[in-house]
Amino acid sequence: MPVLTPELVEVAERIVARYPKGRERSAILPLLYLAQSAEGHVSREGLREVAELLGVTTAEVEAVATFYTMIRLRPTGRHVVSVCTNLACALRGGEDVHARAREALGPGCEEVTEDGMFTLREEECLGACDAAPLVQVNSASYDRVTPERVVEMIDAIRRGDPPRPSHGTFPGDFRQVSRILAGAEAARPAEPAEPAEPTGAGE
């Protein structure tokens, strides 16, 4: 069974067509996301098929894939929980949030939990330091997360009832989000951003 089904190959061709003629290689990252959406990570076979579609070698695709942390080359949980512990989040307790998430998820969670549900990542700055400590689940952001809250979030996801992120709606599991990141989804209606709560924009 190929990784990229005929439907996905069609999507891939649409993505490739966005780039100028002769510059198809630009689609490597989107197509890696697409392969990731099919398997939950990118396997050797996934790398090979992306290479074939773009007319480059598997080694070239692998060289790109290994550079970027959001392309996962090893088995990955159904949900990827990322906790920022860079300075701005650390100053507001990000380390405790990470430690509690780690405890709640149990051994091996940096790779994948035994039930296959989660992968935990200690993240670098996610560009939302006003909302520190920040947690992302499958790249959906949760603002000002406490250690207690991250455990509740994990429990809720386990129950199949993921909490609503701080912006928009829950985008789905890691595979579904990989498909969005590939640029495969039709544009979704943007909900208005949250009201101008704590951030100031000057007076």
Binding site: S26, E124, C129, G200
Partner: protein
Amino acid sequence: MTERIITARWDEPDTVWVDRYLETGGYEGLRRALSMTPAEVIEEVKASGLRGRGGAGFPTGVKWSFVPQDTGRPTYLVANFDESEPGTFNNRELVERDPHQFLEGVIIASYAVRCHTAFIYIRGEFLWPGQVLDRTIAEAYERGFLGTDILGSGYDLDVVLHRGAGAYICGEETALLESLEGRRGQPRQRPPFPAVVGLYGCPTVINNVETLANVPHILVRGGGWYASIGPEKSPGTKIFSVSGKVNRPGNYEVPMGTPARVVIEELAGGVLDGKRLKAWTPGGSSTPFLMAEHLDTPLDFESIAAAGSMLGTGAMIVTDERDCMVEATRRLLGFYADESCGKCTPCREGTWWALRVLERLENGLGREEDLPLLEDLCENMLFRGFCPLVDGAVSPMSSTLKFFRDEYEAHIRERRCPFTDRPPMPAAADDPEPLTSEVPR
């Protein structure tokens, strides 16, 4: 306080939709630009004195004018939305709250440099802003602000949203181009500069999101109006992203030249729990820390440079008297060691060795010779790398060694971090992994 310009529509959630954007003067700048020649648009932006908001502060109009027009090859515009500098979050909020303002800036800039395919490079972690932009771009096509014969002007433009996948270095403009071409994000030799040899070897302009958000306003109200705001050499307003130990973290737009004290103490509500401010970065983790004594420094490129730091992205991370600056530095060096692309030795090795030394200091295993060793590392890293990432890594080290040497010394003397309740390390204990040339990876 002077009016807000690029955050003026933030209080109204409906701004994200094209109809509301149009009701509040949206796309007027584009109409105005399309009634001018591209050269006239460049002149207007030059007259505004607008300087790039991504960190380097290069004059935007001048950058656009460097693009050669007689190469017979396409010209590209790339919007750098890879916002990853620790502490920086204004691009994200600009797009989340007023996405059409940014897109209008992209279209005007593209027209000015005669580009027909523009790329927006967004960091992969920005899932929601990316979804907002997808919708915004779709709306712009529907209303004829993108596509062929824009507003009947005969000008054609397509915009492609391209997502990164987790690499800080791709915010560096030549690494970004490599990434966009489907390669590892490693910086290129400059010169040639991207204006001449950029994306796909073609002339390319790369602008930050905040820079582009200013452009529609300059077209509507004129370069002279913009140039009259703030200091002569750093005109306009700037968004400062305040985070860490303040009461109201957030983005605050003020005229350039506003004293840092106003932003930190008034707008961001001052330090948490009434504590004393210890240190702050003026422009993200890659700019040297400043102290409380620098709070009256005007926030503009020249004044911050004179104070010994850099305006950078305007990201102010604030620490207070309870925070350990050795630990803060260790944490940041962990970031740079992680994000070093590995291309050049001073950065790849320097960040890693510095991290090791900082780790043992924080763990109570520091030695007297570690401080000269760190200074030596700083000296051998600064300006020795292939790109500025390594200089960014030096900033927290060199500035904390200068301002907080007593904290480093206390770690060595007490054999513990004085800001924690950890017990001292026994006198016999030594670094379990002594520094050797055998680097476990």
